[in-house]
């Protein structure tokens, strides 16, 4: 397959359930070996998109192409795509080896070939020594690894991952992020990855598609999404930027670029301190502007001398302000 052909292409996908539109014209192209993340809040349609790619659901309109071939009407067992399910969906009555070898047994590979491939897959997810365990005897993180091994063992063109790290604790999640990315680069398989965790998306992806209400709000590299959000939704969702009104329209300013002053200055806006919280190593000071909008400024350190109720002025360097479309672009 020439590199110019997209491994996966979604062309005008639409899907509704019981009269409500879940997907409104989704277009997506995934290149060979690319790590694409669908990022969005729950209910935005990302899982439905994944299920349509896998063939577990049929779109109302639009086409799905795999390696340039249309597969829209093909059942899941006839698509060169595998899925890592959110709940892992390991077969509880089969041990680790049987689970991983399932797809190979269906394809009637020889015992030796299956054994070799299963061992390779186990090695890849660092789970040697667990061959005879049943899924019920594994921890969440171990089940996760087996689910990944089962999905990559027959080297699909595209691997779909539905919030695979969602059930793991923070530390394990960070570790798995690194491992998954490494695995993806080693295998050269395209990953379509679903998450609602912006940090995860920024860490792992080649490209991120920010999804909202059944549409892609913006598709771009992590740097593009973070530094140049197109809409206020993207700016807020990725990196929790402040959306501030200026004479030239709405701008997104990240909390670390907001200065708090005790006295008025040029281009500073008057505000009142509302609250202070300390999270993830940063002190976040929320202020309320005259027009009622809230803005968050973050500082290093555990406390500041500013107290709730105090009058302040906020200011930002115009270089760090990114113009955005207010309210998204749903009414065109």
């Amino acid at each position: 397959m020439p590199d110019s052909i997209n491994v996966l292409e979604l062309d005008g996908i639409e899907k509704g359930f019981d009269g409500s539109e879940v997907l409104k014209h989704i277009d997506l192209e995934v290149r060979k070996g690319e790590f694409v993340t669908l990022l969005g809040a729950s209910g935005c349609g990302k899982t439905t998109t994944l299920r349509i790619i896998a063939g577990l659901q049929r779109p109302d309109a639009g086409r799905v192409l795999l390696g340039g071939r249309e597969v829209t009407d093909l059942p899941p067992d006839r698509r060169d795509v595998n899925t890592v399910f959110q709940n892992y969906a390991l077969f509880p009555h089969m041990d680790v080896v049987k689970n991983i070898g399932y797809s190979l047994r269906l394809k009637r590979f020889s015992k030796e070939e299956i054994g070799q491939s299963v061992n390779d897959a186990l090695h890849m997810v660092q789970m040697e020594g667990y061959e005879k365990r049943l899924p019920g005897e594994l921890s969440g993180g171990q089940r996760q690894r087996i689910a990944i091994a089962r999905a990559i063992v027959n080297r699909p063109q595209v691997l779909l991952l539905d919030e695979p790290l969602g059930a793991l604790d923070l530390q394990l999640r960070r570790q798995m992020q690194t491992e998954l990315k490494g695995l993806q680069q080693k295998l050269g398989i395209s990953f379509v990855y679903i998450t609602h965790d912006q940090e995860e998306a920024l860490n792992m992806s080649d490209r991120i598609a920010v999804m909202r209400d059944g549409r892609f709000e913006q598709i771009g590299t992590p740097a593009e999404i973070y530094d140049h959000p197109k809409t206020s939704y993207v700016a807020r969702f990725v990196g929790e930027a402040n959306i501030l009104q200026t004479s030239g329209g709405s701008v997104a300013v990240r909390s670390e670029h907001i200065e708090l002053l005790r006295e008025s200055a040029e281009a500073a806006l008057p505000a009142a301190v509302k609250s202070k919280t300390f999270t993830a190593g940063l002190l976040k000071i929320t202020v309320i502007l005259k027009d009622g909008t809230e803005a968050v400024a973050s500082r290093h350190g555990i406390d500041s001398e500013l107290e709730p109720g105090e009058a302040v002025w906020i200011k930002w360097n115009p270089d760090h302000a990114v113009p955005v479309e207010e309210g998204g672009s749903h009414d065109e």
Binding site: G55, P75, P76, N82, H93, N154
Partner: protein, 292 residues
């Protein structure tokens, strides 16, 4: 106040155990007691006129080896196996598809299955007489549509008894299968499809093994009673189909040979247990995985 009391007793496991102890004692007394009595009885001798003589004998057990009783055992076993097999064939798909119905239709189907239980099964079996008897409902319908020329006279035949067995026991199989299919995780089927299994393969390799416990309890719930449901053979088989249950009932109620009836019942119990034990051995082995 009551709930506080309950919570306290739940915390002190010793005390809570004491509280439920009477239930275990009652159950033991009423289940184990009669069983022991029956074993003792089976080694005693029938008295000349009425009752039991307290004299040890194994004659009751030896008598079972007489051809007439052996044949009855074999016939009962055949009928039970056939009925259970047919109940599995009808009940599994029934329970399976019932579990896949929408919630609304599921409760309707459940209701429809419960309705017959509002009437005594004895009464309902008499209903089958009307269906099966010569020139009865079945014959009338078949002849109306020109499928048969003359009455089939199905009443008091083997098929009539098998039908009665299926009729009475099928709901238990349906419930058992329904319960296990209903709580199955359907994402496992999706995973199987995703990994390349056709719908049939996904069913055989994932759904069937995971609902086997339901099928197993369904078999237990139907096979055990089908060995002993003598009144079905009585009502729909006349005196032509004699099952071991009929013999036991006859020995107990008509011949008043309690020790022999007890011996027959114990052999029946052992035979049933043995068969279920073997069945459990077979289904627990890896034989099903060979299907993939």
């Amino acid at each position: 106040m009551m709930s506080k009391k309950n919570r306290q007793s739940a915390r002190e496991s010793g005390a809570s155990r004491l509280l439920v102890a009477p239930m275990y004692l009652i159950t033991l007394f009423f289940v184990l007691g009669p069983l022991i009595y029956m074993v003792v009885l089976s080694f005693q001798q029938r008295a000349e006129v009425w009752g039991v003589e307290n004299r040890f004998t194994i004659g009751n057990y030896l008598r079972i080896f007489e051809p007439v009783y052996m044949n009855t055992f074999i016939q009962s076993l055949k009928l039970a196996l056939l009925s259970t097999a047919l109940i599995v064939l009808i009940g599994y798909p029934f329970g399976y598809f019932m579990a896949k119905l929408s919630t609304k239709w599921r409760s309707r189907a459940m209701f429809a299955l419960i309705i017959p239980f509002w009437t005594s099964s004895l009464m309902r079996l008499y209903g089958w007489i009307i269906v099966f008897r010569a020139n009865g409902v079945l014959d009338t319908i078949l002849m109306r549509f020109g499928l048969t020329d003359a009455p089939l006279k199905l009443l008091y035949t083997y098929p009539a008894v098998v039908t009665g067995m299926i009729y009475v026991l099928l709901p238990f199989m349906i419930y058992a299968v329904y319960a296990s299919v209903e709580k199955m995780d359907w994402s496992l089927i999706e995973a199987a499809r995703d990994l390349g299994a056709s719908p049939v393969r996904a069913f055989v390799t994932v759904c069937l093994p995971l609902t086997l416990p339901g099928l197993f309890s369904g078999v237990i719930l139907t096979f055990i009673p089908s060995m002993g449901l003598y009144f079905i053979a009585d009502i729909l088989g006349g005196n032509k189909i004699v099952l071991i249950g009929n013999v036991i009932q006859e020995q107990l109620m008509k011949a008043h040979d309690w020790p022999f009836a007890a011996a027959l019942a114990i052999v029946l119990m052992l035979l049933t247990s043995l068969l279920l034990f073997l069945y459990g051995k077979i289904t627990k082995s890896d034989s099903l995985e060979g299907l993939i």
